[in-house]
Symmetry: C2
Subunit: 368 residues, 2 copies
């Protein structure tokens, strides 16, 4: 397995992405100088607290996918008509394109019970991955999964039950994650409110994190989730995107590639809830496709995550035996310690983003 | 009543905000030159199709407000625990601060069945008000109302009914607006699918607009909506914000001012569903506060909106009799025609934003 410890930048261009702490201050400064030359308006040090103004070529938002649904239980209120057509299954996409976009487009796909907010300003107010990647030359696309956040759900079945036209059992399986049970899932500690030693998640700002959590309809949606065909449309539009998933959405990029490989340059699955199953799934969609499965710290101490890590190890081995280019990395293996399941919000989040930039430069170089 | 037709910029600085079509090309060019000098990275022409790179000093997102709720019906799924604590009532806020922020912070508050997407890229792919105002020197804050979009709702009552622990009647009054009944509410025409003559809404891209619509929980929330105290907190944090509402949220800035005037520099109510009621509401919170109530076109042809316009006219007159500085403007009165209820997305949306910038310069000048 490839390890960040032994990597050396093959070109000057790939160096900024490799300035993890383990690589030392000298390399970080060299990388900073290269990046300062290459990327207009962006800082080069991963965790620069005052990065200065950001110049972007273009920003905006749009929807991908979607399906019209006609219903006569859209409302139970006298002021709003019950019958009409709505659109569901589309995904909301917000993007920023840097002036010097020398790197490929990234699609950031959040996990369970969360929205695209996952990748924005951290709970303790530091720069999110969304801005970091733009500052480092990646066109960056942040989505809300279908039926989540700014991507519409339908209240039709709720109103059918409220109006007495359907059984309560038919209500959607929409749930929220309480912070006490979620604590161990996010691996802040073994159980609420215990904390793993040297934890990098900014627990002093946990209140702001809990506010990010929203109701999750995914258990009431078909498999694959409607987000998957929408991601496929988006990747084709971007002509070569790196799909970066997290947790619940871990399987989505793999399902997207199984649907259609075109437009997908690489897959980065951050702490996926599941990898494809070599015993059931066709592995040919992953032949020659750069794939990174990335986990944080304390995984072996987690009854929830240790089996998922093991399952993904099995997938990576099987995919490579079938001609794949898959890697599985635990951050402690490359000298980065203390990371929770929410590693894109941990105190060293930008060091990880910086390391990930280097992985993309090496495994999926170029722009779209 | 003050009319844009007779306005002249009192300082050079206020000129860019006044380049509405009625003011002519010469003024637009003069305004462009001034703005180019004053605002780094931003275009000055309202509807420039290729505005060039945008330089911002800072961007990010955060939450304001919020309340912890303990529940034992957060989930009916075996994989997720039913009991725990979640946070609701907070509002999601996304902001961008221009490098030369010589104008006051704006808070953009969307209306019924929509989210902050309202103010972003228009359905036909043009620049949204969110970016226009940043390019013109306003720190700009876009929110999702409480229980909408990226601001969490609670599924607890849905799951209580699904689990047989509560009556179907107790389900929340959450609704979606079907496009056919919404057509006349948005004043695209008198009824679906008829279109008012010279309509400025980009109906060729209406599919993208319908995808913006999400379920609306407001009828199941207390009055005032939890968005209101959160707006108050936000305004105080911004030390002098202009609160810009739309439609359903029209009453929120007035309720916010009634709660606490500090932090509120001005109110702009775009096509409000309601203005304060002089027969019931205390008007003293509005004394000396710059207030603009702004309506588009075809209002008299709308049985839904004509009475609301009349009600707001009554409020403006009463507020001014009580020492207020309120104005009500119909866009046709200042030479801007063809606007729907979604005037921030109409084809002339940036001309209206430009005119609004001028109103703010005149009535609520300075920065925070």
């Amino acid at each position: 397995m490839w390890s960040g410890r032994t990597v050396r930048g093959e070109t000057e261009y790939s160096m900024p992405g490799l300035s993890v702490p383990a690589l030392g201050r000298a390399r970080r400064i060299a990388g900073a100088l290269v990046a300062a030359m290459l990327i207009a308006g962006g800082p080069a040090s991963a965790a620069d607290p005052a990065p200065g103004p950001l110049t972007i070529a273009e920003q905006g938002s749009f929807f991908v996918g979607g399906r019209d649904v006609q219903s006569d239980t859209l409302s139970t209120l006298p002021a709003y008509a019950p019958s009409g057509t709505i659109s569901v299954d589309q995904i909301y996409v917000r993007y920023q394109i840097p002036v010097s976009a020398g790197r490929p487009p990234l699609v950031l796909i959040h996990g369970c019970c969360l929205t695209g907010k996952t990748w924005e300003t951290t709970p303790d107010g530091r720069m999110g991955w969304d801005e970091f990647f733009v500052r480092h030359g990646f066109p960056t696309y942040v989505i809300d999964q279908a039926w989540r956040g700014r991507s519409a759900a339908s209240p039709a079945q709720i109103n059918a039950v409220k109006a007495g036209r359907a059984d309560p059992n038919s209500l959607p399986a929409v749930f929220s994650a309480g912070r006490e049970p979620a604590w161990a899932i996010f691996r802040f500690g073994p159980e609420y409110p215990k904390v793993f030693p040297d934890m990098q998640f900014p627990l002093e700002a946990q209140g702001e994190f809990w506010k990010q959590m929203v109701p999750d309809w995914s258990a009431s949606l078909p498999v694959p989730n409607p987000t998957v065909p929408a991601l496929s449309d988006l990747a084709k539009r971007l002509k070569g995107a790196v799909l970066i998933s997290h947790s619940q959405s871990g399987i989505y990029p793999f399902q997207t590639a199984a649907l259609d490989r075109s437009g997908i340059r690489a897959i980065v699955a951050i702490e996926p809830a599941a990898c494809p199953d070599p015993a059931k799934d066709d592995l040919s969609p992953y032949k020659d496709l750069p794939i990174l499965v990335l986990f944080g710290d304390y995984v072996d101490a987690s009854p929830r995550w240790a089996p998922r890590l093991k399952q993904c190890r099995g997938f990576v081995a099987a995919a490579n035996a079938a001609g794949g280019r898959a890697e599985l990395i635990l951050l402690p293996e490359i000298g980065i310690h203390g990371n929770s399941h929410m590693l894109m919000q941990d105190k060293n989040s930008l060091d990880i983003a910086d390391w990930l930039s280097g992985w993309i430069d090496k495994r999926a170089p170029g722009k779209s």
